[in-house]
Symmetry: C2
Subunit: 386 residues, 2 copies
């Protein structure tokens, strides 16, 4: 064959070095540091997405996810995207244009749910609560009574505020009002007590990069029987092809029909993350997060810092710390990164400039993290007091 010649543009042929990044302590709201076993698993050689070995691995992931979530839901899978993709998958599949949806907004992620639901044509109503607080059963009841929604969306662990929504009675209320209960468990799965079936949650999603310590890029999703029933009764196609669970059911179910190529190595990582959860045990894991969280809170008090959320609703996996009025919050944050390789984050939305967000998630929830954080915070706060 005659050699063709091409007019190649080399302007973007950038010379780059081998990847090498500083060893950061990821104590922000996520990603948390990956467990070394998870990074190791992700480097395992690939098999195809229809290989019998991969199909067996998919079954294992589903089982281990059911354990982590405490659910018997058959439809329990990882979505091929990050936590926001799983959030969108739950809304895109469970609602149809014109459906009434009630969303609890007591932080940033209630607004994100609202934005998504509106794009799928829902009539969205919001229940409001000050950021950092949680909804009472009575408030939920009044909301359901007033709006009679098809879906109630709540955030279990608000990553923007550090507050943990209790779920006693809410599941029963939703059944009484013939409403699906959809819950964001992004920052709780694998770290905070979470009992999906006992709490009668109909649909939930999560992320991999919080208490599970798997890098972002894969996101758990589960639908219970009532959610599946609504999905199967849809009159319209799901308005999102990539996240269409009616098609993905045929890949994750017995048919194994090709839909899209699964992210093989991210699935390797998630499987390892869930193995680690199953090895440690949920109760042990929840208790560890609580103990470490409490020791961090006590330490903060010792260095004159205050938590933003009332103790009984405080998430052990994500603490919001009030930035003292005479301290330059951004400078502290930057100093921690530059001097200690510690990543923490500022506030989102209306908490911007008011709090730091500090995550102690999964593998990162241990005494050495607390000691390091307290030491670095104490010195940085002293340095940047105005």
């Amino acid at each position: 064959m005659a050699q063709k010649s091409y007019n190649i543009n080399n302007a973007h042929r950038k010379q780059t070095q081998q990847l090498d990044v500083y060893p950061r302590f990821l104590f922000g709201p996520g990603p948390s540091n990956a467990h070394p076993r998870i990074l190791q698993a992700m480097g395992m050689r690939q098999v195809g997405h229809l290989d019998p070995q991969f199909l067996a691995l998919m079954d294992e992931i589903q089982e281990l996810l059911r354990y982590a979530w405490q659910t018997d839901n058959e439809f329990t899978i990882p979505v091929s995207g990050t936590g926001s993709a799983a959030m969108e998958a739950s809304l895109a599949n469970l609602l149809e244009s014109g459906d009434k949806v009630l969303i609890g907004v007591n932080g940033y992620f209630g607004n994100r749910m609202t934005d998504m639901a509106e794009r799928y044509g829902a009539e969205v109503h919001q229940l409001h609560r000050p950021w950092g607080t949680v909804f009472s059963v009575d408030e939920i009841r009044q909301g359901l009574e007033k709006h009679r929604p098809a879906i109630l969306g709540l955030v279990h662990a608000e990553t923007s505020t550090g507050a943990c929504q209790p779920f006693d009675e809410i599941g029963d209320l939703c059944r009484k009002y013939d409403c699906l209960l959809l819950v964001d468990t992004v920052t709780s799965l694998g770290g905070i007590p979470l009992l999906l079936d006992e709490w009668k949650i109909d649909a939930a999603y999560s992320g991999s990069q919080k208490c599970l310590n798997c890098p972002p890029g894969i996101a758990p999703l589960t639908f219970g029987e009532r959610a599946i029933a609504k999905l199967k009764k849809r009159k319209s196609k799901v308005a999102n092809w990539y996240l269409d669970m009616t098609m993905l059911m045929d890949y994750w179910g017995d048919n194994r029909t090709y839909h899209h190529t699964a992210p093989i190595n991210m699935n390797y990582g998630l499987r390892e993350a869930l193995r680690i959860v199953a090895e440690e045990g949920l109760e042990e894991r929840w208790e560890r997060h609580q103990t470490i969280g409490e020791s961090f809170w006590e330490g903060l008090e010792g260095i004159g810092l205050e938590c933003f959320v009332e103790k009984r609703y405080r998430l052990s996996s994500l603490t919001t710390v009030k930035i003292p009025e005479d301290v330059d919050g951004r400078a502290v944050h930057k100093h921690l990164l530059e001097e200690y390789n510690i990543e923490i984050a500022g506030g989102l939305g209306e908490l911007s400039g008011k709090v730091w967000r500090v995550g102690l998630m999964g593998y990162n929830s241990r005494s050495s993290s607390v000691a390091l954080l307290l030491g670095a915070l104490k010195s940085a706060v002293a340095l940047y007091r105005r």
Copy 2:
């Protein structure tokens, strides 16, 4: 704090072994085998998605992607999902409900584009060609003249048929008819001659797991000026939150505004994949794929097997091989996997049962792959001749 006790369900607390999969030769339509340097990069410790180090890495990925695609397009990014997510991102962003879209269907993926475009409310018209053939400039011209679409969608390298669509004149035609040219380059990027700007392609997407040899889970997308202009003139919000490029532009652009958590380690992998492309050079890479492809085709002839696609339109990265009528195609396929650890695939859609699909992509495009494949195929075909 008093220790709470929970009623834990241990039914799904499955005991599993450390991950260990057979070393497969991934000679199907993708995923291809990951280059060892890419797996190594993916195992690098994480940084946060707003870490200065990650922001620098994002810039490098964008530059290297521009080189691989031969484009100066500023908006050139990886989407946080697999190739199908990037396909959907291009349609969800560039079309609005009611837009006319013309899609070339000469294989499986034209139908997928159609399904997606319809979900976003497009009025879809199709141009048809027998599977395994390509469209002539005249056919495209007639289609544009008849339908006057806002977008023309074509597949450069049809993974289902092994045919390569030429692009001479099509870009000019699209400009003449004031139509955006959207091209699927999933199986061509990094393996097959592809000159985005020279061909006047307005938008393109690809996958990571074909000729780039990065595991699936991240997918390149690029929009040229004409595409960006249409995006900026939208009257409605993009009907897909996760893939809303008007928001993602603020993360990949100068503002660095948080949208969703980027899949950090998949970005590490893609960066390494693109570094490898830049090191080898595009022309060298294209020539290698062509030489290896031709030696495979000659070898097939030598063992009495025939290619499905006419030679001048044949993809060197993905060969469709006719299954001889007296051979049990499925049995051959299975035998290759079980006896040789070789994955090839059967046909999709109307080519099901009629062809095998054999990929020699990126790192896998080398003489040892050809020798191994030919040896294994020869022996398996002899074994399963009826």
